[in-house]
Amino acid sequence: MAERKVRMKIFGMTCDDCVRTVSEGLRSSGASDISIDLKSGMASFIIDDSRTDPDKLQSIPVFSGESHYKGQVRNVD
């Protein structure tokens, strides 16, 4: 197990409800210590890379299918 700090740009959020929806989506996909700035769309959180593949974060349910939220991984430490 290795904890990785991820920075992700989120597109499509317009209000605090959106922030909550995206946060919950990230949490249910294995993210913790989630912090999202609505204005910049930047999210930072921790993942356990033995459980969550950083390369697959863009395709977790909250960013897939009919969802109008899009996420783009910008940095993984």
Binding site: F11, G12, M13, S59, K70, Q72
Partner: protein, 478 residues
């Protein structure tokens, strides 16, 4: 001394043409207008297609067609006479049409996207995240996370002694002329040469197409190439093939070309020269090495997802190293590139489903494999060819030199490709796109009723010719 921090963008698009606009708009849609996008480039918005490509060339093609149709004695009893031409007026209207199209479909459209910022100037990479934009006002650096290379292409100008001094036209600047050239030499014989050559011949020029090789295209089947050349020759266009231009010299009365034909040297005087040797991808000056993007003089290398060797940088359109340079392909690739940047569902470009056309008369259109391509690629195929004279509507139109060809898989009859040289070929080829996209076979096509009499019926008749002797079939036979 303080240094301004470079403005930052989610996506920087190098280019302002069809690929760039398609990408910028699609990226805006995908991100709910929240992706900050920069578009950089020089010249009028819209790039090649609207300004110096498809739009003006098709305007000229249709204008010339209108003139010739007014003069041609196609049907007995319909008496027509030679029309007159005000070429300067025609070219003025062409330029107005271009301006109107550019204003409506590019300049006005971009105003609807406050997240897109347009920069004037040439951009080049200074590091993998930064480009420097240089224009008459100085230099400015901007930084981005993703980039799209969509810088398009430029006419290839051969290195012929005396050419620059004598002066010449290309498909970029021919739209500015107001006097029709009397004797026009076209050096090179690509699609632009054929379209403009036929149109200018119809409008009154005496056109000579000068080519080193006898073929028009690397992918068109030779039979189609010959039929197209025959049509143009019947209209008076002269073809000089197997010759290379050695030099050009300006004289008091024109421009003298010296060319070699075998051991002979021939001199011919023309009033104007049009260079049509194809287009080269605009990679020079981008400093792609600094961004870690692999490229050659054939263009930027991408995978089918339009991603370059730098995974954050994509490319689309004429700048890509690929077999076609098409406006529709550029727009499709631009859209695919940004979809792959912002969406989890990854999309591939499928060149096999991209139709293309030459807007001569008759028009040529193709999708999928040609027989020549299948042979070159070692793909087993079976083909049938039908003449336009075997199609009732073709006979009604008094059309000739037209051909239909279907290329199919001999194992299962799946349609692999269609070539058409006929009136409305560019409109009809869409049937071929759907056939290939849906994996349809020859029987699917035969079992589909077509409207009678149409030129498009030729596609079905060609499919029927795989199974039947066409000379023993009645009209409209299912």
């Amino acid at each position: 001394m303080s240094i301004d921090k470079p403005e930052e963008f989610d996506l920087i698009i190098l280019g302002r043409g069809a690929a760039a606009f398609s990408a910028a708009i699609k990226a805006s849609e995908l991100t709910s207008g929240q992706a900050t996008i920069a578009m950089t480039g020089t010249g009028p918005l819209g790039g090649t297609c609207v300004n110096v490509g498809c739009v003006p060339s098709k305007y000229l093609v249709e204008a010339a067609k209108s003139k010739i149709e007014g003069e041609r004695q196609t049907y007995p009893g319909i008496i027509r006479g030679k029309g007159s031409l005000k070429f300067d007026e025609l070219m003025g209207s062409l330029r107005s049409a271009v301006e109107s199209e550019r204003t409506e479909k590019y300049e006005n459209v971009i105003r609807n996207y406050p997240n897109i910022k347009v920069f004037d100037g040439r951009a080049s990479f200074t590091d993998p995240f930064t480009v420097e934009i240089i224009n008459g006002n100085g230099r400015e650096s901007i930084r981005g996370f993703n980039f799209l290379l969509a810088t398009g292409s430029s006419p290839v100008v051969p290195d012929i002694p005396g050419l620059a001094d004598a002066g010449f036209l290309t498909s970029n600047n021919i739209w500015e002329i107001n006097r029709i050239p009397g004797r026009l030499a076209i050096i090179g014989g690509g699609f632009i040469a054929l379209e403009l050559g036929q149109s200018l011949q119809r409008l009154g020029s005496h056109v000579t197409i000068i080519k080193e090789h006898s073929s028009i295209s690397k992918v068109m089947d030779p039979e189609f190439q010959m039929a197209m050349i025959n049509t143009l020759q019947e209209e008076g266009v002269e073809f000089l093939t197997g010759v290379s231009v050695l030099s050009v010299k300006r004289t008091a009365t024109g421009k003298v070309l010296t060319f070699a034909s075998g051991d002979r040297k021939i001199e011919r005087e023309f009033d104007e020269i049009l260079i049509s040797r194809g287009r080269k991808p605009n990679v020079a000056g981008l400093n792609l090495e600094k961004a870690g993007v692999e490229f050659s003089e054939r263009g930027v290398r991408t995978d089918p997802y339009m991603r370059t060797s730098n995974e954050r940088i994509y490319a689309a359109g004429d700048v890509v190293d690929q077999r076609y340079q098409l406006e529709t392909l550029a727009a499709r690739e631009g859209s695919i590139a940004v979809s792959n940047i912002y969406s989890p569902e990854k999309m591939k470009i499928e060149l096999n489903l991209i139709p293309w056309a030459i807007f001569t008369e008759p028009q040529y259109a193709s999708v999928g494999l040609t027989e020549k391509m299948a042979n070159d690629m070692g793909i087993n195929c079976t083909c049938r060819t039908l003449k336009i004279e075997d199609v009732p509507k073709g006979r009604i139109l008094h059309s000739h030199n037209g051909l239909f060809r279907i290329i199919a898989d001999p194992e299962n009859g799946k349609v692999l490709g269609i070539e058409i040289l006929a009136p409305y070929a560019a409109e009809m080829i869409m049937e071929g796109v759907h056939l290939i996209r849906n994996g349809s076979n020859l029987q699917d096509l035969v079992q589909t009723t077509h409207v009678f009499p149409t030129v498009a019926e030729g596609i079905k008749l060609t499919a029927q010719s795989f199974f039947r002797d066409m000379s023993k079939m009645s009209c409209c036979m299912e």
